[in-house]
């Protein structure tokens, strides 16, 4: 087995990122606390450089590397650029937040970058082992990040739960993958697909494996009934980390699901098996997520349940089983990441030293304290609820369209009913901000760049909503070229 230079071309962004993590890791040792800005700048520059390299090397076709272990297709390029943007935005939002909580250290940045690398590997994996490698790199970095605030009991508890349940999920997934290997004799995704298509696979074993694989994916996405970790982790983790967990990894998880369920196990014979499984997960997630979110008084917990319901919607797109549906799901996840960034960014913007603005009541009367913050949050909440003209509506629209197109009209009606319930708790935030008098009267202190980015983020929810065509077309093209 030899490697040629052609093998390295598609992997450039990953290599660059890995090299830079090592540089940052070492360089940070020589920086004093007051010079930490250097690490911050290097991290952002690394992400920007990766984005440039990914964009420059993007090709409209599919390229394989390392003997088919790794794939570079338009879907992966698009998702990776979204990941860089999300991680970059997360760093900008959380700068003063982490600084005030003693987490503004080298570890934070290197762990974030390692997590990013894990996502990139997941997105570009073309082999079950590569997928697993990426997933574990991401997960381990996230476990450490959740526990980064060492003296916080809640964080430690969250990290423990995340780790134990995450390990369980990885175990399930691996067990399922081993069955797939047993049935098909390969872990190489196109190979698995072609053997199934040729009828050379043992369907009983394959189905047995499929159940475990879907359960593993359900865990990673946080879909009901594998959602137990989500509220605790979202709640317990420092908000900066919650922001990271709830945005960029969802993009990677989307790619993960596409690679496994669609590319490897997308055969018609298997599709009819996993479609009803996802249907159950989706309906249960939308139901439990939306209903439980109503009862929450902690915003981070509420958003955790809201994420669960959004993942249900995402699954709707995937289970429609058409390119149309997959691109709708991709659009949905991109929009979700945009909204999640802004919402958690807002929590951090309103937090200050020794105070977390994570209770619903902390948003009371925000319109009195800062009309602009309230307006941005209003846009984000209506977008989450899926009310036009915000972008969240188009995300729901495209997924529902795919579902109706697939002939599942009843599923669309169910989804619509639950999004009505969902609207209630997003509306509650707007209600608190606009209709109530403020309890907390401290001036809002957030740094200028973060504030600017927050404005851009909130307005993006509106502007992309007024002109959503390009992003939909982007997702559509990426999926069409990749599958």
């Amino acid at each position: 087995m030899t490697l040629t230079s052609a093998d390295f071309l598609p992997v450039w962004p990953e290599i660059l990122l890995l090299a830079m993590v090592c540089v940052i890791l070492v360089a940070d040792l020589f920086l004093k606390d007051s010079q930490r800005g250097g690490t911050y700048a290097m991290t952002l520059l690394t992400l920007a450089a990766c984005a440039l390299v990914t964009a420059a090397s993007a090709r409209p076709d599919v390229t394989f590397a390392f003997h088919g272990m790794f794939v570079d297709d338009p879907m992966s390029d698009t998702l990776k650029i979204m990941v860089y943007l999300a991680v970059g935005a997360m760093l900008i939002y959380s700068r003063s937040y982490v600084a005030l909580r003693g987490m503004y250290r080298g570890e934070f940045f290197t762990l974030v970058l390692f997590a990013t690398l894990g996502m990139m590997v997941m997105i570009s994996a073309n082999h079950f082992l590569t997928l697993y490698l990426g997933l574990e790199l991401l997960s381990l970095s996230l476990y450490a990040l959740v526990a980064l605030q060492r003296d916080s009991a809640a964080s430690t508890e969250a990290a423990m739960k995340y780790f134990v349940l995450g390990a369980l999920a990885s175990g399930m997934l691996l067990y399922g993958v081993s069955m797939v290997y047993g049935a098909t004799g390969s872990l190489h995704i196109p190979e698995v697909a072609s053997r199934i298509a040729a009828g050379k696979a043992n369907m009983t074993i394959l189905l047995f494996g499929l159940v475990f694989v879907v359960a593993g994916l359900g865990f990673k996405l946080g879909a009901v009934p594998f959602h137990m970790w989500v509220p605790d982790v979202y709640h317990g983790a420092p908000t900066a980390v919650t922001l990271l967990i709830s945005t960029a990894p969802k993009l990677a998880a989307f790619a993960f699901v596409i690679r496994i369920l669609v590319e490897a196990l997308g055969n018609k014979a298997l599709f009819v098996e996993w479609q009803p499984m996802l249907m159950m997960l989706a309906v249960a997630s939308m139901a439990l997520g939306n209903l439980t979110a109503i009862a929450q008084t902690n915003l981070k917990r509420m958003l955790a349940y809201s994420t669960i319901s959004h993942m249900g919607f995402l699954l709707l797109g995937i289970l429609s089983g058409t390119i149309n549906g997959y691109s709708a799901a991709m659009f949905y996840v991109a929009v979700y990441a945009l909204m999640g960034l802004g919402t958690f960014g807002m929590i951090m913007a309103l937090s200050r030293e020794g105070f977390e603005a994570d209770q619903l009541d902390d948003f009371k009367g925000l319109n009195r304290r800062s009309p602009w913050h309230a307006f941005v949050m209003l846009l984000l909440m209506f977008s989450m609820a899926g009310v036009p003209p915000t972008v969240g509506f188009y995300a729901k629209l495209s997924v529902l369209q795919a579902v109706v197109d697939a002939g599942q009209l009843w599923l669309a009606v169910v989804a619509v009913a639950f999004s009505l319930i969902g609207a209630f708790y997003y509306l509650r935030i707007v209600r608190l901000m606009y209709f109530d008098e403020p309890v907390d009267t401290h001036p809002i202190q957030s740094d200028g760049v973060a504030r600017l980015l927050l404005s851009v983020n909130g307005l993006a929810a509106l502007v992309v909503g007024i002109v959503p065509g390009w992003l939909m077309a982007l997702c559509q093209r990426a999926m069409q070229a990749s599958l």
């Binding site: 319109n367 009309p371 209003l378 209506f382 009310v387 036009p388 003209p389 509506f393 188009y394 629209l397 495209s398 529902l400 369209q401 109706v404 197109d405 009209l409 669309a412 009606v413 619509v416 009913a417 999004s419 009505l420 609207a423 209630f424 509306l427 707007v430 209600r431 606009y434 209709f435 002109v467 959503p468 065509g469 939909m472 077309a473 559509q476």
Partner: protein, 494 residues
């Protein structure tokens, strides 16, 4: 015709003016915000005027058509166009916006910029609803109006505003989400088009038509509102500030009636015919039963709210008679109701600003202190009761006449409104305006000032003009109504 995108201006001038008003920020600049808002509202009306000049009442189909691809992925287009029905509603809307800005001029003192901006944005969005000829564009505008209305009720409303605003939002959202599913189904059935013209032509089997009809019915019935999904309206009206009530009554309720004419009837004509008996029954229940409910109200705003529901029953009745005069009457009734209910809410607002009470029992003998106001109030009360010579008479009379042709008992039931309407309106009027001065607060009342003169005077002219000379309205409605009836008469069963 010039190529000026008039409809785009009609939609976006108020919205941009709203954004500008919002940019004036805090209440320190309240004066500036008010001025910009007024200019914006006037500009919004001014750009709507060329529509009258350029409108050809004899032409069939849509006029001032604009078309720009919007979301290519789903073949959704920024497609605009109006016929006589839309024209009247757009004008009513642009006109009402000016009144609302003037009505809120002094009364609203906190967060002025946000208040004014909400109304301007809403005005633009409503124009968008009436001008859209692409179903998804319609839906986007239709839904987007919820956001400013929600804020208006919740921020500037009365004591129970939060309950009312959330109820308003969720009720209307429930309706429109089902409509969304129906639209997606039609999109698929039509092979990928949201254009209204395509959906109108699309043949559909009966079962599907009934499903589509019911999904639309939920959306529009909540907006109209029809009995029994009307319960959000009294709450929303009572708690909303005066401007909110006016826009809600004058414009927002028309979205439902307009939706029936533009969506339900032409897209599902066979189901509309099949279910017309059901619709007529619901309409008559609204007319009679809600009229009786209005009789026992002790809160003036609630009374007018129930009276609105009862009068809107005429609209749905007229629409589902499938008869030219009835349908024209229904549309005339929509416009007239916009003037009258708007005026009545403004009258209550005038009193509320002075006394901070809406209870009938707190008033009495107002005429002694506010003779000019009492005269205006009298006119609008009479119009609400359907006095000939006022706009309230025209629409109701046309609908009743038309109902007589179909079935005497429909007409009989509908005609009871002339009695009940007179009863609850005039009884309220008597208790509030006449009699001895009820309490010292009433004794301190001062008559209306120039600003109030202005909006009540303009509305009085409108109500009388439409009552005495309704011909121009009918003329504009002739073509679209006959087209619609012809279209609906043909079966769309495959």
């Amino acid at each position: 015709m010039t190529s000026t995108p008039l409809l785009t201006l009609v939609i976006w001038v108020p919205i941009l003016a709203g954004a500008l008003v919002l940019a004036t920020g805090s209440d320190r600049n309240a004066g500036l915000a008010r001025t910009i808002a007024l200019i914006g509202a006037l500009a919004g009306f001014a750009v709507a005027l060329p529509l009258i000049a350029g409108f050809d009442p004899t032409a069939h189909g849509m006029q001032f058509v604009e078309f720009t691809p919007w979301i290519g992925r789903y073949n959704i287009n920024y497609a605009l166009g109006i016929d006589g029905i839309s024209l009247l509603l757009i004008l009513l809307n642009a006109f009402t916006t000016i009144l609302v800005v003037i009505a809120g001029w002094k009364v609203i003192e906190s967060r002025v910029a946000q208040y004014m901006a909400a109304f301007l944005v809403m005005s633009g969005l409503m124009n968008g609803v009436f001008a859209a000829t692409d179903a998804m564009l319609f839906y986007v505008f239709f839904e987007a109006t919820l956001i400013p209305m929600f804020l208006v009720i919740g921020v500037w409303g009365g004591p129970n505003r939060i309950y009312a605003s959330v109820k308003f939002f969720l009720y209307t959202l429930l309706g429109s989400l089902l409509m969304l599913v129906a639209l997606l189904y039609l999109y698929q059935a039509s092979g990928g088009s949201f254009a209204l013209a395509d959906l109108h032509k699309l043949p559909l089997p009966m079962g599907v038509q009934v499903f589509v009809f019911i999904a639309f019915l939920v959306a529009f019935a909540v907006k109209v509102p029809m009995w029994p999904v009307h319960t959000w309206l009294p709450d929303a009206h009572v708690e909303a500030p005066t401007g909110g009530s006016v826009v809600l009554a004058a414009i927002a309720l028309k979205l439902g009636g307009y939706g029936f004419l533009r969506f339900s009837l032409p897209i599902a004509p066979d189901a509309s015919h099949a279910l017309s008996g059901f619709m007529i029954a619901l309409s008559l229940i609204a007319v009679v039963y809600i009229g009786l409910v209005a009789l026992v109200q002790t809160d003036m705003k609630k009374l007018i709210a129930y009276s609105s529901i009862s009068h809107m029953g005429f609209v749905t009745l007229g629409v589902f008679l499938f008869e030219r005069m009835g349908m024209q009457g229904a549309i005339i009734q929509m416009i007239s109701h916009g003037f009258i209910s708007g005026a009545l809410f403004l009258c209550v607002g005038v009193m509320y600003d002075r006394l901070h009470s809406r209870q009938i029992a707190d008033y009495g003998g107002v005429v002694n202190k506010m003779p000019v106001f009492a005269a205006f109030f009298m006119l609008f009360a009479m119009a609400n009761a359907g006095l000939p010579g006022t706009s309230g008479f025209v629409g109701e009379f046309m609908v009743i006449m038309s109902a007589t042709k179909i079935n005497f008992w429909f007409a009989f039931a509908a005609a009871t409104t002339l009695i009940f309407g007179a009863a609850y309106t005039l009884w309220m009027y008597k208790r509030v305006v006449f009699g001895a001065v009820a309490n010292p607060k009433v004794a301190d009342l001062e008559d209306i000032e120039a600003r109030e003169w202005l909006f009540l005077g303009v509305l009085a002219v409108a109500v009388l003009w439409m009552g005495i000379h309704p011909a121009p309205f009918n003329e504009v409605l002739e073509a679209p109504v006959s087209d619609l009836l012809q279209h609906v008469a043909k079966s769309k069963l495959p």
